[in-house]
Amino acid sequence: MGPGLAGYIIRRLLWAIPVLFLISITVFAMLRLAPGSPIDAILGQRYTEEQAAVLRDKYGYDDPLPVQYVKYIGNLAQGDLGVSTRHRDFTASEIIWPKIWISTQLGLIALVIVFGLGIPVGVYAAMARGTFIDPLTIAFWLAIEAIPTFVLVTLTSWFFALKLGVIDLGYEGVWTPNMTVPVLVMSLPGVAGVARFMRASVIGVLGEDYIRTARAKGLKEQTIVLTHITRNALLPMITVIGLSLPGITTGSLFVEVGFGIPGIANESLQAVLAPDYDVILALVLFGATLFVLANVAIDILYGFIDPRVRVGAGRGQ
């Protein structure tokens, strides 16, 4: 890890700061300037001006917007994400972290399934290229991808809960049999993307000289596919896996709503509709930060795995 890499990482992280500021200002302004406020959500249809004034004062909504923003950022710098107005007497942190944890566990299981299925499917399709099996395999998964999640939710919950009666639709915890169907609904549409990427990667490797050498040495086809082709084709996959890691924390909105999972996507929808200013901001900034970090992490990881692409060495900047 030379000085070039360190400098590159620092530059990347420094660039993230203005971008994050821009995002926070935009979302902040958008929320505050929109009609409808948390006050309406708290007090309901009828309330007196005095009641509203007390609450506006409590949450500081009477201050000019720039003052509110500076206060928010000041608190944020001390790790205070603000308060939830939808769940009164709870801070935004108390609301989001447990829900993020629920969604992340489900997302992680789904991620394992997506790549666990997508990679073999991609290798299989690539090895079968030249036959009709290849396009049909890819087309099958593209068809699954084309079904909107909320349609899949309706179809699967009807089939598995109503028709077969093998699952209940209630949420009883992440690691319960009831979560099998939601996790499948989350993961199956993603298989096509991974499979297509893997297929292209394998086809790229197939043209390399060392594959020809391996064949010439008379190695078993199985050995060639597993150790020579798949392993090398997996290298570009690191980016895809890395970039999809932050996504698992956000949860799948339609799956969480459809199967009644109290995850973060469900909460996000409620927070947006309420509106619950601080919770929305916390979620957006959390997602953006995580993504920036993941991007930098991938760059570093790449440098370790494949020295040829070590950044800073050949960038000529």
């Binding site: 049909l136 890819i138 991808e145 079904i147 993504f291 920036v292």
Partner: protein, 326 residues
């Protein structure tokens, strides 16, 4: 990269390349799939654009009697009727119109204008302009897109009435104002995310083309930047840009369907697939009236599937062409 001269060919060729007849069969099937996809898309777009002329009934012709509500498909109503006794085929055609217009609007604003424009700018100007555009795009693509779209649509939601009343009073739009306002809002929510993929593709293409001798030659001859971009860089960028655009189409169309399903996009009295699907409320309702979901979801699933297939086929064809250049 695999040059024929350095490695002596030890194996007979058929071992390396798949047998010829399979390849032709596969190419044929590939092409057939792509052709089918194109054919379906053409029909879909034609139906969408011509919806008011070919729809058998009016969009909101209600027939609120027991015999006319929630009827299965029949000769009178080819796709059945919904809970207000409206013809489903008509609603599907008008939903197609929503999807068609939406995809066209987003392709022009998000794809052509922002994607191509910002990609060209980033690739050709380089420096901090490039960094600013690409980093912004990077972070935006990592955001929980749907949630942000929801935030945008929800924050405009309270203004729909005042804006559409203003339009009704001051323009010729009349009853369509509300739909136009809603349409504008979901477009505003989608566009910020619609340029991300295509601008990245365009930028990397521009970076490669910029180094070509003919671009340097044009520069040294004193050609203006717009001229170089349009005459020399753009033609090289277009093929991959179109490939990227077609791969992103399903996502764009899906965004409108999802927002409308949640009731934050296009809704009554206009029609959207998201709305038709949302009408099938719950599994019990689906069990009783499955044809409503089939009619409402089927056409749009095929539409998204066709774009997926076409995008995949284009990427494949392009990959192969690039490989044969090496």
């Amino acid at each position: 990269m695999a040059s024929e001269t350095t490695v002596p060919v030890l194996l007979p060729e058929p071992e390396l390349a798949p047998p010829r007849r399979f390849r032709t069969l596969r190419d044929l099937l590939r092409k057939k799939i792509a052709l089918l996809a194109i054919a379906y898309l053409a029909i879909f777009y034609a139906c969408g654009l011509l919806a008011p002329f070919i729809a058998p009934y009016g969009l909101n012709d209600q027939q609120l009697t027991v015999e006319t509500r929630l009827q299965p498909p029949s000769a009178d109503h080819l796709l059945g009727t919904d809970r207000l006794g409206r013809d489903m085929l008509t609603r599907v055609l008008y939903s197609a119109r929503t999807t068609v217009v939406f995809t066209i609007v987003i392709v022009i604003s998000g794809g052509l204008f922002l994607g191509l424009g910002l990609g060209l700018l980033a690739g050709y100007r380089g420096g901090w302009v490039d960094t600013a555009i690409m980093r912004t795009g990077e972070v935006l693509s990592g955001m929980p897109t749907l949630i942000l779209m929801l935030a945008i649509t929800a924050s405009f939601r309270g203004r729909i009435n005042s804006w559409s009343f203003w339009l009704e009073d001051h323009t010729f739009l009349g009853d369509d104002s509300k739909t136009l306002v809603k349409f504008t809002i979901i477009s505003l929510a989608t566009v910020p995310f619609a340029w991300l993929g295509s601008s990245r593709i365009v930028r990397s293409q521009v970076l490669a083309i910029r180094e070509q001798a003919y671009v340097t030659a044009a520069e040294s001859l004193g050609a203006t930047t717009p001229r170089i971009l349009i005459r020399h860089v753009l033609p090289g960028v277009m093929p991959l840009f179109l490939v990227g655009l077609s791969s992103g189409m399903a996502g764009i169309a899906g965004a409108e369907v999802a927002l409308s399903y949640l009731g934050l996009g296009i809704d009554e009295p206009a029609a959207s697939f998201g709305n038709l699907i949302g009408d099938v409320n719950g599994t019990r309702f689906f069990e009783q009236y499955p044809y409503l979901l089939v009619a409402g979801a089927g056409p749009v699933i095929l539409f998204l599937f066709s774009w997926n297939l076409l995008g995949d086929a284009l990427v494949d064809v392009f990959d192969r062409r690039q490989n044969s250049h090496r």
